[in-house]
């Protein structure tokens, strides 16, 4: 199905001006992300900027987090001011670095990082051994200095995000455990894991940005996060398979059709449940754009084989 036709079938349609508004925001945030993170990288991990693709990917992830943070802040009735933009940027950088620790240094390092993150969360200690870890810790310290870290919801979101990441890693490092389950249970577990990874991440991001979240908003923002991960995993389908990483989206027979079914349900829920304001339009507009670009990414990777370091806006 062509992307334009995919979009027209969704139960929410953007206004003609929304795409231009999101374009303008993305451009502005990309610049602000670079201005915020470049001095930190130069001071604490200069080698990172030498790896052009990885650096670009970090900036792009932080830009995405800033856009999503903007939408969720406005949904909650707050202004997305300079301080909140800084928090969202730091959060994006922190997620990028934490993901890289779990993904890029081999299975032994991955297991060790999980243990070290658990110690960081339970006692606050993190033994810094590399420049990358130094940058991560400085970014984390700045992020923690911006917010009451003892807020119960924020603590839970961070803990649950860590647990979901740990489960994702174990599914990758210990595939026999998953393979021993009936196929249907395997897919249920993978689907739940995808939902939780991004669901808890977006709750953590939003809780960093606003003082409180009503229950209705927690459920809807969690749903938006879950949809982001299904879309993301669809885009990375071939690279994930190549890297031996099992996801729900690379285990289903017809991923594009499955994703469309998921997107229809989530868009319907979000469109009817979210309060009608600028935050809602931004969030849904972002999700639609993300959905369409990841369909392209999936098809592109199918044509030329997955490359892990593609940077997509």
């Amino acid at each position: 199905m062509r992307p334009a036709r995919v979009a027209s079938g969704l139960p929410w349609q953007p206004t003609p001006e929304l795409a231009a508004r999101i374009d303008a925001l993305a451009r502005a945030y990309r610049t602000e992300v670079r201005d915020t993170l470049a001095p930190l990288v130069a001071a604490w991990h200069p080698a990172l900027s030498a790896s052009a693709t990885e650096y670009a990917k970090m900036l792009e992830l932080s830009t995405k987090m800033t856009l999503v943070g903007h939408a969720c802040t406005m949904l909650s009735g707050y202004e997305f001011d300079a301080r909140r933009r800084r928090i969202a940027i730091l959060f994006g950088c922190c997620c990028f670095l934490a993901d890289s620790f779990l993904d890029d240094f081999g299975p032994a390092a991955t297991r060790l990082y999980l243990q070290r993150f658990a110690r960081l969360l339970s006692a606050g200690w993190f033994e810094i051994r590399t420049e990358r870890e130094r940058l991560f810790y400085v970014v984390l310290a700045r992020l923690f200095a911006e917010r009451d870290m003892l807020d119960p919801l924020l603590r839970q979101a961070i803990l649950r995000l860590h647990a979901a990441q740990a489960q994702d890693v174990m599914l990758r490092l210990d595939p026999d455990h998953l393979a021993a389950l009936p196929e249907r249970h395997q897919r249920t577990l993978l689907k739940r894991n995808a939902r939780d990874r991004s669901g808890h991440a977006i709750i953590a991001l939003t809780t960093f940005l606003v003082p409180s979240l009503p229950l209705a908003m927690i459920a809807l923002i969690f749903a938006a996060g879950a949809l982001i991960m299904f879309i993301d995993d669809h885009g990375d389908c071939y690279t994930d398979r190549r890297d031996g990483r099992l996801t729900y989206m690379n285990q289903v027979r017809d991923p594009e059709r499955v994703l469309h079914r998921i997107a229809l349900a989530y868009f319907a829920r979000l469109a009817s449940g979210l309060p009608s304001n600028e935050g809602r339009d931004l969030l849904l507009g972002f999700l639609l754009r993300y959905y369409l670009t990841r369909i392209d990414k999936h098809r592109e990777q199918r044509r030329r084989g997955g490359t892990a370091w593609d940077v997509y806006e």
Binding site: G124, V138, A141, A145, P152, R195, I218, A223
Partner: protein, 185 residues
């Protein structure tokens, strides 16, 4: 609380220094900050299933396997819109199981004052000797001299009160360390 941009490199250095001191075995504490509130959340009276948007009492059998749960200690009337039809959580139930975050924060502050008090004093002495420190000292002295009698009294009262609070908290902390978790003599 946000900090000014100029103070940030110093805070970065401070954050790294705390970890380095701990690695070198020069900090006695077992815990710097504990984000992990698993014990408290497991004991909370309500659990909210973020995937289905349903609020349950703790242990409700209708909670789906693998549900992404967020603990709640209090309910509002609005929360009832999401109440599970099976366990029917109510907002008027009294639960005295507030998370002890504020107390944790106070004791965290006490432990930091306790651990770094000596270091801070030494750093303060060193800073006073620097050009910047001497300028600041002269400015503060001038400000203090220009305060009226009443303003000086207020400032002195605030400082001595802070001192008394810190002393009291340190005494409580020592008492807890001596007598175990409940702090009784």
């Amino acid at each position: 609380m946000s900090t000014s941009e100029s103070a940030r490199p110093l805070l970065d250095q401070a954050a790294l220094a705390v970890q380095a001191l701990h690695r070198a075995g020069r900090l006695g504490s077992d815990v710097l900050v504990r984000i992990d509130n698993t014990e408290e959340t497991a004991a909370a009276p309500y659990q909210f299933d973020a995937a289905r948007g349903t609020l349950h009492r703790r242990g409700c059998r209708a909670i789906p396997d693998g549900a992404p749960l967020y603990a709640r200690w209090h309910l509002t009337r609005d929360d009832l819109k999401h109440a599970c039809k099976r366990c029917k959580p109510l907002p008027d139930e009294q639960h005295n199981t507030e998370p002890t975050d504020r107390a944790d924060l106070l004791f965290g502050l006490v432990s930091l004052v306790d651990q770094f008090g000596g270091v801070l004093k030494e750093r303060g002495k060193d800073f006073r000797k620097t050009e910047e420190g001497q300028q600041l000292s002269a400015q503060l002295g001038a400000i203090y001299r220009n305060l009226g009698r009443r303003e000086k009294d207020v400032l002195d009262t605030v400082l001595s009160t802070l001192d008394a609070v810190i002393e009291r908290l340190r005494a409580l902390d020592r008492s807890l360390n001596r007598n175990g978790a409940d702090g009784r003599d």
